[in-house]
């Protein structure tokens, strides 16, 4: 990997995502990587670090404050522009889609910085994918739990076997064009309202 002397500052309130990006940058041979989670007192930190590239997540409401600081502050000696080349529309779109923005010291050559931006974009996308999968797994687990409870209610109140209870839930869901977990949730809610059909 190419050894780089560029100083990279990652500003991200999400610690997990920040460490994923940091790891990616280090794997790519960037040794001067600093991660900041909290922007309090950031002007001094930037003066110390003198970053060549600043990577920040788009969710961060402090972007306006940072941009103003880049433009005005004596702490940042060189003007900083977003991205290297504003004609590179595809890169900019990819970054915004991924939810990341970057500021680069004016005058840096595109080929030195682009790999860093590409890395940040791909790590942001990887993180979003991971978060989505985690959320899907969590809701999958939740629906399985609620379906089990609904089956239990049907087995007890209507004397059905587990298989028959599930078939009934599935048929109702198909007839109403809804998800089984939604039907199950309605049933659990209704049972809760109607009284102690369950032992809970």
């Amino acid at each position: 990997m190419v050894r780089s002397s560029l100083a990279v500052l990652v500003i991200d309130e999400n610690r997990i995502r920040a460490s994923i990006i940091e790891a990616g940058l280090r794997e790519a041979g960037h040794e001067r990587v600093t991660v900041i989670h909290d922007v309090t007192g950031i002007a001094r930190r930037i003066a110390e670090i003198e970053p060549d590239v600043i990577v920040i997540d788009l969710e961060n409401p402090n972007r306006d404050m940072l941009e103003n600081m880049f433009q005005l502050s004596r702490a940042v000696k060189r003007p900083i522009a977003m991205f290297v080349d504003r004609s590179d529309q595809a890169s900019i779109e990819a970054a915004v889609d991924a939810g990341v923005s970057a500021y680069v010291v004016d005058g840096l050559r595109q080929e030195r910085v682009k790999p860093i931006l590409d890395m940040a974009v791909s790590r942001f996308n990887a993180f979003s994918r991971m978060a989505r999968e985690l959320e899907e797994a969590r809701s999958e687990l939740e629906s399985r739990k609620v379906i089990d409870r609904a089956k239990g209610i049907l087995m007890k109140s209507r004397g059905l076997s587990e298989e028959a209870a599930y078939t009934l839930l599935r048929k109702t869901a198909m007839n109403q064009n809804r998800k089984i977990s939604d039907i199950a949730q309605s049933l659990v809610t209704a049972a809760g309202l109607l009284g102690p059909l369950e032992d809970e």
């Binding site: 788009l58 969710e59 972007r63 306006d64 103003n68 433009q71 977003m82 991205f83």
Partner: protein, 410 residues
């Protein structure tokens, strides 16, 4: 026939006209599917409108000028065919600063001249004692907030570039920053002033409506390329926003509007918190209450008309504080940014009152004044600056030269 339009907005009360256009069905009635996307920073709004994620957006009045003048990265050419209202901001200071101001003659009456004189005395006293300058926050360098705070201070004999420090803080963080002592005061839209008063950590010392009555605040910024390719969609949107703004202005709808804005996807704050901006009835802190005429005006007084004189006044302030150089080219860019022609042509079929001129002499109307206009009667103003200054958009050079003198005297 249908148009799909994506609009970005910030969770601030003055996005209400956009939000109500969708939620109350005004957009749908014009054949528009209006998609609203909440954002976390003005920088995001600027970036997303530039790359085409948004067609239009809720913007700070000077922001499209800053885009077109090349003052910010990644900006695209943006035009303003509609204003989202007049007023709505306050200046709030910490309890300690308020006590210092009160000792120098400030009273809880929002009088900008009196409050400014007291603040100047406090600033000089602190400087004499070798203390750090007071730190004020605004929401963005290219904002009405920044320019009205500086205008107020300069008119009261304080040089805002030397005698105080001005920093940027996102609106929802203002009250916390004040309570934590990271800032001494701020200028922001409601409800973020009342938030400090309610917390017992701040006092409202003056309001935008008294600094410059019926003055511009947020606008609808439109990517120029999109506007050129979609003139019918834009005209339909402006008609929807017109109906929405009229609905927002009507006190009979304020409860419902507050309930809509309270939803987590929009402002996300309880209706009670939104009442000060809707009624103009403010708690200033320390038990003082005040009712302000024209505190926030979403529709009346031709509030939605994108006056070129508003844009040009912002331009004079950009020049004044060194954000941009005054050149014929830059002046032409500033002059072309707000587009009353688009507003007029979109609303003409409705037969509503429309100003006949594209610009007016700001500060000339001392009282509410009926004006001749196409179709129906229209009332403008008052539009005075608190220091009695007049801004004549035809005399820009003289105005810019004059305000340099104000600063030099400070």
């Amino acid at each position: 026939m249908g148009h799909e339009i994506t609009a970005g907005f910030m969770p601030l009360f003055d996005s209400a006209v956009l939000v109500a256009a969708r939620e109350m069905g005004f957009a749908a009635r014009e054949g528009i599917e209006l998609k609203l996307q909440r954002e976390t920073s003005w920088a995001n709004i600027r970036d997303r409108i530039a790359i085409g994620h948004f067609d239009v957006a809720h913007m700070l009045g000077p922001m499209p000028l800053a885009c077109n003048l090349g003052l910010t990265p990644l900006a695209s050419e943006t035009i303003v065919p509609f204003s989202l209202g007049l007023g709505g901001n306050c200046v709030t200071v910490s309890n300690a600063v308020w006590q210092g101001m009160a000792a120098h003659g400030a009273a809880p009456d929002l009088d900008p001249a009196r409050a400014g004189a007291a603040l100047r005395a406090l600033i000089r006293e602190r400087a004499g004692a070798g203390r750090d300058p007071l730190r004020f926050a605004v929401v963005h360098p290219h904002s009405g907030h920044n320019y009205e705070l500086r205008y107020w201070l300069a008119a009261c004999g304080v040089d805002p570039t030397q005698e105080i420090e001005i920093v940027i803080v996102p609106p929802p963080f203002m009250a916390d920053a004040l309570a934590a002592g990271r800032i001494d005061g701020y200028c922001v839209g409601e409800p973020w002033n009342s938030a400090s008063v309610a917390a017992g950590t701040g006092h409202i010392v003056t309001v935008k409506a008294l600094l410059w009555r019926n003055s511009p605040e947020k606008v609808v910024g439109v990517r120029k390329a999109w506007a050129q390719e979609n003139p019918d969609a834009l005209a339909a949107l402006l008609r929807a926003l017109h109906h929405s703004a009229r609905w927002c202005q009507d006190p009979a709808n304020h409860q419902e509007l507050a309930a809509v804005m309270a939803q987590p996807g929009f402002l996300g704050l309880p209706p009670a918190v939104q009442m000060p901006i809707l009624t103009g009835h403010l708690d200033l802190g320390g038990g003082a209450e005040w009712a302000i005429d024209d505190f926030f005006v979403p529709f009346d007084k031709a509030a939605n008309f994108p006056w070129k004189s508003h844009a040009l006044w912002f331009y004079t302030q950009m020049v004044r504080w060194g954000h941009v150089e005054h050149t014929p080219e830059n002046l032409a860019i500033a002059r072309d940014c707000y587009r009353p022609d688009l507003y007029r042509s979109a609303l003409k079929p409705l037969g509503v009152a429309l100003p006949g001129a594209n610009a007016k002499v700001e500060g000339a109307l001392k009282a509410a004044t009926p004006v001749g206009s196409a179709g129906a009667s229209l009332v403008l103003g008052p539009d005075g600056f608190f220091d009695g200054q007049i801004f004549d958009p035809d005399e820009i050079d003289a105005y810019i030269a004059g305000q340099k003198l104000v600063r030099a005297e400070a």
